[in-house]
């Protein structure tokens, strides 16, 4: 039976809660209602209200309480109704959760997850991609699955991880992406990228919902001019799989990075710097970027469509790079 990206997330939580009594979930409307997107549907009935906790609208307390519980040996999974509201818990995440192990050695095994990303006309406050705020915070981990398999495997790995993980699930993929999943327990290790398409002429590095337009652009390029693009899906943003990126850069000599996040300070910069440092001599062209522009996410259709990277823009940049 094929499983949607959303259902994969739900399964991961469900199975981990069955397996490990220290796992519990908390957040707004996650109990009786099953979550704004129904990710936690049925969990209240199954696990009871001690382990499925509807909270007040207090992101600072949700994350703060998760930290306290994690320090006590629990493995809380906190939901942000939309990931945009993680800004209200920014302080607890970046100062308390991220730095605790470094300071007095006590790890904070917790997951904060929520729907990110655009393409659903959500406007400036229901479409954000906040990954870089956390990628730039040593002590956190950040993952962003693109497939149902990874959604499940990465979430299980995140829950089992002994450090705090920000888990970014792309709402555009929730019901649009599905695949057959193995019946048996599996994890996708944090910090390992996946090569989604092998190639020799060009590397496209991406993650999250942008994987699909990248694959489409790669196919176009091959059809058009036989150029073979390698497509890397980062899956984890922190730790970043620099090895896979650098190896591909050395192989193809040409790299572009595609992200839905805004441009300045996006992860493309980090990747460009890494490639400069570790594969400069192999480069046959500049590391290019296809990203959202430096604006909030606009609401109306023509604007949001212009804002988001897509296969056409990616193919255009790829053509330029191939021809470089």
């Amino acid at each position: 039976m094929t499983t949607t990206y959303l259902e994969a997330i739900r399964q991961a939580i469900w199975e981990e809660m069955e397996k490990d009594p220290s796992v519990f979930v908390l957040g707004e409307d996650i109990g009786a209602y099953g979550g704004a997107f129904k990710v936690t549907e049925g969990m209240l009935q199954k696990f009871g209200e001690t382990r499925v906790i509807d909270t007040p609208i207090s992101e600072g307390a949700i994350v703060g309480a998760a930290i306290g519980a994690a320090l006590m040996g629990m493995r809380p999974v906190a939901e942000m109704q939309f990931i945009d509201f993680i800004s209200c818990a920014f302080d607890q995440l970046t100062n308390f959760a991220a730095k605790n192990r470094y300071r007095w050695g006590a790890g904070v095994p917790m997951v904060v997850r929520g729907p990110c990303g655009g393409g659903v006309r959500g406007g400036p406050f229901h479409s954000q991609n906040p990954e870089m705020y956390f990628v730039h915070t040593p002590g956190l981990k950040v993952v962003a699955p693109a497939t149902a398999y990874d959604a499940k495997g990465l979430l299980k790995a995140s829950i089992r991880d002994d450090d705090p993980v920000i888990y970014l699930e792309h709402k555009f993929l929730y019901r649009r992406i599905k695949e057959d999943l193995p019946k048996d327990d599996f994890v996708v290790p944090l910090g390992k990228a996946a090569v989604r398409r092998e190639g020799t002429d060009l590397t496209i590095v991406t993650y999250g919902a942008m994987l699909y337009p990248c694959l489409e652009a790669a196919a176009t390029l091959e059809k058009e001019r036989g150029a073979k693009a390698e497509v890397i899906d980062l899956r984890s943003l922190l730790p970043l799989d620099r090895e896979t990126i650098v190896a591909s850069a050395r192989k193809t000599g040409k790299v572009m990075v595609v992200h839905e996040d805004t441009r300045t300070g996006g992860i493309a910069g980090e990747i460009a710097a890494t490639i400069n440092e570790e594969a400069f001599d192999h480069l046959d062209g500049p590391v290019l970027r296809v990203t959202a522009p430096d604006t909030p996410v606009p609401y109306s259709a023509p604007l949001e469509d212009f804002f988001l990277p897509n296969a056409v823009k990616i193919a255009d940049a790829a053509r330029k790079l191939v021809a470089y």
Binding site: E28, D29, G31, A32, Y33, A36, E49, D54, T55, P56, I57, S58, G60, A61, Q81, F82, D84, F85, S87, C88, R121, G122, G123, P124, F125, H126, P293, D294, T295, P296, P298, Y299, S300, A301, P302, L303, D305, F306, F307
Partner: protein, 381 residues
């Protein structure tokens, strides 16, 4: 500060607690009843606090317009002619209209997502709203944001909200502070939070800030029983948010939010306190959210009996009964009001639909100040 005498035990709550154990009732859950205190307050007769007939009828028109405008938006939404979030204020119109009507035009007002009525009172037109919900170029946001997420300080004294609940509380305290700094200390500042948003840190920081600086700030709590699916007993452990006034040293009051005249009068009292330099007011208004959180939500979790009880307290019908009973209107004149609004709304919606969307490149404009690109750009402002 008074001297802390010796060990002094303050009772845990001044009134009945919502729940007696760590396990909390869930009204939607199987077999659960209606939590105490969710039923409507006693149905007292409406009392005119001294408004003229013209004012009373104007209030009525705004409430009717509020309702019909939202009905129209819902119809458009179902037809796929608008997208994004659509949040209803059905059953809460008396709060938006009653509070906004009690303000002077230069008092500062910041709506939350269910306060389309407040914005109507301020002079925002149906055309503005339709353009906004349709994401048109001439909308108050050039299509960059949706819903009620806009304002205009210079001409309408409206500050627009963002989605993040509670943020407006300190922002509007700051607006009141600015008015005082500008020598306009008479200008009060008013905004709204839901029962749910009282749990945000901002509620506390902002109200306390206003209290300490003695700002003429009015925080209206629309206690509509639900925050999305969450009932108040999962949100706070007091019977009424008005009980929090003393914790901040500000005046507080709780009124029946289905009685537009009571809401108006309570807001007036708060405004008067503000103008007299007596500081902030926390004003709870009680009601029930009569539709789902937004269009997608079938609110299965709301007990039928609760909806039925509150349906009898429909603020518009109550007010119309009062107007007729007090001789200010007849069923015919009330019907005429509605009949005049309907074609207006249809025309505005059609006009909005014919307006052009923003050009894609508009995306890149206006992140920072640009010469020649100045707000407000929308007709009504």
């Amino acid at each position: 500060m008074a001297a802390a005498s010796t060990s002094r035990l303050v009772p845990a709550a001044t009134t009945k607690k919502p729940a007696a154990s760590g396990r909390v009732r869930r009204p939607g859950a199987k077999g659960a009843g209606i939590p105490k205190g969710m039923m409507p307050p006693p149905d007292r007769p409406l009392v005119n606090p001294g408004l003229s007939r013209a004012q009373l009828l104007e209030i009525h028109r705004f409430m009717r317009l509020n309702r019909m405008l939202e009905d129209k938006l819902t119809a458009l939404y179902r037809q796929g002619r608008i997208s994004g979030g659509l949040y209803s204020s059905l059953g809460q119109e008396a709060i938006s209209v009653g509070t906004a009507y009690a303000l002077a035009p230069d008092d500062l007002l910041a709506p939350m997502i269910r306060n389309i009525g407040s914005m109507l009172v301020r002079g925002v037109t149906p055309l503005d709203f339709f353009q906004q919900y349709m994401g048109r170029y001439e909308s108050p946001t050039h299509g960059k944001d949706g819903t009620l997420h806009f304002g205009n300080v210079e001409r309408l004294s409206i500050i627009g909200p963002i989605s993040h609940l509670g943020t407006l509380v300190p922002v509007m305290a700051g607006a009141a502070l600015a008015a005082r700094l500008r020598g306009e200390a008479h200008r009060c500042s008013l905004t709204y939070v839901g029962d749910g948003a009282t749990s945000t840190g901002y509620f506390h920081e902002g109200l306390n800030f206003a209290a300490v600086l003695k700002l003429p700030f009015i925080l209206v709590v629309e206690n509509n029983g639900y925050a999305y699916s969450t009932t108040c007993d999962r949100q706070f452990r007091v019977a009424s948010i008005a009980e929090r006034g003393p914790a901040y040293g500000v005046a507080s009051e709780s009124v029946d939010g289905t009685d537009v005249l009571a809401v108006y009068a309570a807001t007036q009292r708060a405004v008067q306190r503000g103008r007299r330099g007596e500081g902030a007011t926390l004003l709870e208004t009680r009601c029930l959210r009569m539709q789902g959180h937004a269009q997608h939500d079938d609110m299965r979790y709301v007990p039928k009996a609760l909806l039925e009880a509150w349906a009898k307290r429909d603020p518009l019908e109550r007010y119309e009964r009062f107007l007729v009973a007090s001789g200010h209107a007849t069923p015919d004149t009330l019907r005429a009001t509605a009949e005049a609004i309907a074609p207006e709304l249809d025309a505005a919606a059609d006009a909005a639909e014919k307006c052009p969307p923003p050009s894609p490149e508009e995306t890149l404009k206006g992140v920072y100040k640009e010469e020649g690109y100045e707000a407000p750009w929308w007709p009504a402002a």
